[in-house]
Amino acid sequence: MTALDVALVGFGLLALAGALLAVTTRHIVHAALWLVVALGSLAGVYLVLGAEIVALVQLLVYVGAIVVLVLFALMVTRSPIGPSRDHATSPAHRGVAAVIAAGLVALLLAVLLPIAGSGAVTRQVTSNRALGADLFGTWAWPFELLSLLLLASLVAALAIARSRAVTGKEDA
């Protein structure tokens, strides 16, 4: 174990704990806040892995924008504050979900662990200069398409949210 490994495992355990609590807590608002913990420690993981820009974007976009959006959605849909069992699934349902998730983890580990190997390798730090040159060189067209996608999703979200809800009645 090297120092980088220790840092990676530390941030990783924090992220896993946050993620686990985010999907199991009965406080609906707490789920979004545990998501902040998970995503914030994932930014630390990216830093340890030498991807500074990804870590910064993770903090800016995920923690700064997406979580706020999720919290707003919880507020607008009148989520109860405090523990709530209104929408809790049955233990059998949760058990089946856990079995499927565990099967998924086992499948992915069986495929990915042999690829990852067990030896220590030199960490490649992505230089911001090379990243910028590639982002606006090799990846320029996908990058432009991305702005088109953002514009389309903005317009679509406005159009969907402003349209009248379908209530099943003819005159709705």
Partner: protein, 97 residues
């Protein structure tokens, strides 16, 4: 020096936890949180492979940037749909209105 397997295990467990969140929650917004965790697992895998390959490459950092942006766009549209569905029939994804 760094080992690749802890990052791979982290990514895999995030994807598993996210899948559990998608399957076991009935509140539509909490299902979205599970989807976010799955996307982050994919990002960890990209960054980890970019950091541990022998040939330096920026793709391991560029693709997560794209995924994060697409996730933001996806969440905006999904929350608009959730809002509309909530007005029509409530927040429960298993309920038929």
């Amino acid at each position: 020096m760094i080992h690749a397997w802890p990052a791979v295990v982290l990514a895999t467990c995030l994807i598993g936890i996210g899948a559990y969140g998608v399957l076991a929650r009935r509140n539509a917004v909490l299902v979205l949180i599970g989807v976010e965790l799955i996307l982050n697992g994919a990002n960890v895998l990209f960054v980890a492979s970019g950091a541990t390959v022998s040939v330096p490459s920026t793709a391991g950092s560029v693709l997560p940037l794209f995924i994060i942006t697409i996730a933001a766009a996806e969440v905006v549209v999904a929350l608009a749909v959730v809002l509309l569905a909530f007005r029509a029939s409530g927040i429960d994804v298993t309920e038929k209105s």
